[in-house]
């Protein structure tokens, strides 16, 4: 027997969810519309564009004189790939040590990491800039190296999630391997790593996404060197007073171009995060 009160509640709930989903997706929908808008400028009189065009995308990728978007894209890609390799190695090594190995320095390191993460991230930014300058990494193509170092050097502090995952792998597996004569390095590479697929993928994706979405560090390090801009600074620049009129719709196109791959990766990452949280051995 159907309960009429229940039906009404169900309809209300679904309507409520629909409204919420609409609100949540509205900005995304709007930016996609804008990226196809023909009228220039950021001030609009109507929500929907008056006429549609594909020119914004074409201009974004062909007009390389003022704001070189393809170059920014390439810069960010290079930086992201290198950062991703280095920090994945760092994070996994440190997490493995913290989870599996016992040594004098371990507790000290964990306390130090906790204290360091309480400082605002870019408080040291200015100091880092001067250090990079002192070792000659602040000019020219070295800016890319500098950014890679900044994004990956501190990654050893973010070991909590991966450590939590390694903790769930039963110790008896390691002990069995030791009895079979494996060294700890072999256990790390041949036993633990193959069991840790979700957390490896999660780490790879987070460190790859990092440089794409970072804004402050890149801005301080690149300053006015437009040749080495990452997409985040490029897009931010398009919204500044001198560019906003001509570049506003291109900004929308650029935002769409950057967001689609990042969104896909993020959704993948999310899945592996949930899997990683569930632990290595399912009970």
């Amino acid at each position: 027997m159907r309960n009429p009160r229940k039906t009404i509640i169900n309809i209300l709930v679904h309507a409520f969810l629909a409204v919420l989903a609409f609100i949540w997706l509205l900005p995304i929908f709007w930016i996609i519309l804008t990226s196809f808008r023909k009228e220039k400028g950021s001030y609009v009189n109507s929500f929907f564009p008056k006429s549609y065009t594909f020119d914004n995308y074409i201009k974004l990728f062909t007009n390389r004189n003022v704001l070189n978007f393809p170059q920014m894209f390439a810069n960010t890609l290079i930086i992201a790939v290198c950062t991703c390799l280095i920090s994945t190695f760092f994070v996994l090594s440190v997490s493995y040590c913290m989870s599996r190995l016992r040594f004098r320095f371990r507790k000290t390191y964990m306390n130090m990491a906790m204290i360091l993460t309480l400082f605002p991230g870019f408080m040291s930014m200015i100091a880092v800039y001067y250090i990079l300058k002192a070792i000659g990494l602040s000019e020219g193509s070295m800016i890319r190296v500098a950014l890679i170092l900044i994004y990956s050097a501190g990654s050893g502090l973010g070991f909590y999630i991966a450590k939590g995952f390694f903790d769930t792998i039963p110790k008896s597996i390691d002990e069995a391997a030791i009895i079979d004569g494996a060294t700890r390095w072999q256990i790390f590479t041949k036993v633990t790593m193959p069991l840790s697929k979700p957390i490896i993928i999660y780490t790879v994706l987070t460190s790859f996404i990092g440089p794409w979405v970072d804004f402050i560090f890149a801005k301080v390090i690149c300053r006015a060197n437009s040749k080495y801009f990452t997409v985040a600074i490029g897009l931010w620049n398009m919204l500044q007073k001198e560019y906003i009129h001509d570049w506003y719709t291109c900004f929308a196109a650029g935002a769409v171009c950057v967001s689609i791959p990042i969104a896909v990766l993020f959704i993948f990452m999310q899945r592996y995060y949930v899997e990683g949280m569930a632990g290595a051995v399912k009970g």
């Binding site: 040291s124 050893g156 935002a255 967001s259 969104a263």
Partner: protein, 452 residues
């Protein structure tokens, strides 16, 4: 078993008290102890480190340290060159570089002292192994142990170097700036001195300009963090519960809609929001077209409006995150609890307040702490959305600035580095208090064994 005992009471003091002549001598000639206890190659390598350090200190280090207390005196001068008929600029001292090199040398010295202690202990350890008739590793075995018993050394070396060079040293450098007059004020950008605690006094002094702004920003930071964290948490949980309801259809689709909004890079979505909230932006246009308002709403120009708007937009950013985190946990709440409550006649509100919320609080305390500290440090939302504005004339801090965004403005835009450093230290203090207090509480939770 014995090996463990040897390692356990192996301290510097014990080494000095119980060491033989070679162990004691390695306080001066590093590596001697190792070399004399059958580890010749290792001993020589350690000795080379000592030579390198001494060489470094004589050529560079000592002069850097000597300048540290005074931070340089010579101003950049102009000298009239008769022969060439031009002014020539003499190289003045750069206090910043002196400070940087000084901090770096101090840090290297600290590492050297740690190294010294390690080699001393190592020598004592070897000595005692020999005394007790245990075998001693030769150099090749030592190298091999790097992949086995000492794997942590090989794995941690690079990450640790990165952290030291790009996190620890810069932080010490920045903290030391808080005790100087390094600032654009009074033109102390090239040459500056130590001033002790003066900057801290200025920041805390409610009567001064900087102090007044500091307390204002601190209050708003805390209000913001509390609201942003709690509202996101509760609403995200309610959303997750609505989607999780037995009768809700297309669960995956709803979740996907919300996840999509956070999958878009935050700086993109926040900049879009920023544009949409302009006086001529999309939101005002829609409202005007619908005939709901006549003039544009002052989203980012009125203090109260700006603060409320930012908290609301942060809900847009934060609720999906909470929803994601919470969904799995919600499904784990024992069904019997709900059934028992229903039999006792509890309504949905009572069930939420008496069962769901306490259970969730119990499980998600760590998540709450991280999101609270994350909100105190939430640079992106504020900087990209309002830029800290609206800003009163003569102030450096806007009315929606958090400590972090103010720190950014003070250092990058205004170049008041010393005040910026003090703000950074205070942010750290606030965060540590919050973290300590909550960790304590979650500890007391743990003592209750388990929920229920």
């Amino acid at each position: 078993m014995k090996n463990k005992k040897i390692k356990a009471d192996n301290t510097v003091l014990a080494a000095l008290a119980g060491g033989d002549i070679y162990t004691r001598l390695s306080t001066v000639i590093m590596g001697l102890g190792c070399a004399m206890h059958k580890q010749i190659v290792k001993g020589i390598l350690i000795f080379f480190v000592e030579i390198a350090y001494i060489f470094f200190m004589i050529t560079k280090g000592i002069s850097c340290l000597a300048e540290l207390p005074g931070l340089g005196e010579a101003e950049q001068g102009k000298v009239w060159n008769e022969a060439k008929q031009i002014y020539e600029y003499t190289q003045g001292d750069n206090s910043l570089l002196i400070l940087l090199y000084g901090v770096a040398v101090l840090f290297v010295t600290f590492l050297f002292i740690v190294f010294w202690a390690i080699q001393l202990r190592e020598s004592y350890y070897l000595q005692r192994r020999i005394e007790q008739g245990h075998p001693v590793n030769n150099f090749r075995e030592d190298i091999r142990s790097l992949a086995n018993q000492n794997l942590h050394i090989s794995l941690m070396a690079l990450p640790l170097t990165g952290i030291m060079a790009f996190t620890v040293v810069p932080l010490i450098f920045m903290i030391s700036m808080a005790f100087t007059e390094y600032s654009k004020e009074n033109n102390h950008l090239a040459l500056f001195d130590w001033v002790g605690m003066v900057n801290f006094g200025r920041v805390l002094n409610l009567a001064g300009n900087i102090g007044r702004q500091f307390w204002g920003v601190l209050t708003w930071t805390l209000i913001w963090a509390v609201f942003a964290t709690l509202l996101n948490y509760i609403m995200g949980m309610i959303l997750a519960m609505i989607i999780n309801r037995k009768d809700t259809k297309w669960k995956g689709f709803w979740r996907f809609c919300f996840v999509l909004s956070i999958a878009v890079p935050q700086f993109v979505s926040l900049m879009i929001m920023h544009i949409m909230l302009q006086p001529q932006g999309a939101i005002n246009v829609i409202l005007k077209n619908l005939g709901l308002i006549d003039s544009s709403l002052p989203f980012m120009t009125n203090v109260m409006w700006a603060r409320v708007t930012i908290i609301i937009i942060n809900l847009w950013v934060g609720i999906p995150y909470t929803m994601l985190q919470v969904t799995g946990i919600l499904q784990n709440i024992p069904v019997e609890l709900y059934e028992a409550a229903k039999i006792d006649g509890a309504g949905p509100v009572t069930i939420f307040a008496k069962i769901t919320l306490p259970y969730m609080l119990f499980v998600t305390t760590p998540y709450l702490i991280t999101s609270f500290t994350g909100n105190i440090n939430n640079f992106n939302v504020i900087y990209l959305l309002s830029g800290g504005g609206p800003t009163m004339v003569g102030d450096t801090a806007g009315k929606t600035d958090l400590l972090v965004t103010w720190l950014y403005k003070l250092t990058v835009d205004q170049q008041y580095y010393n005040i910026g450093a003090v703000i950074g230290i205070f942010t750290f203090i606030v965060l540590s208090i919050v973290a300590l207090a909550t960790y304590r509480n979650s500890g007391s939770y743990k003592n209750e064994e388990e929920f229920m």
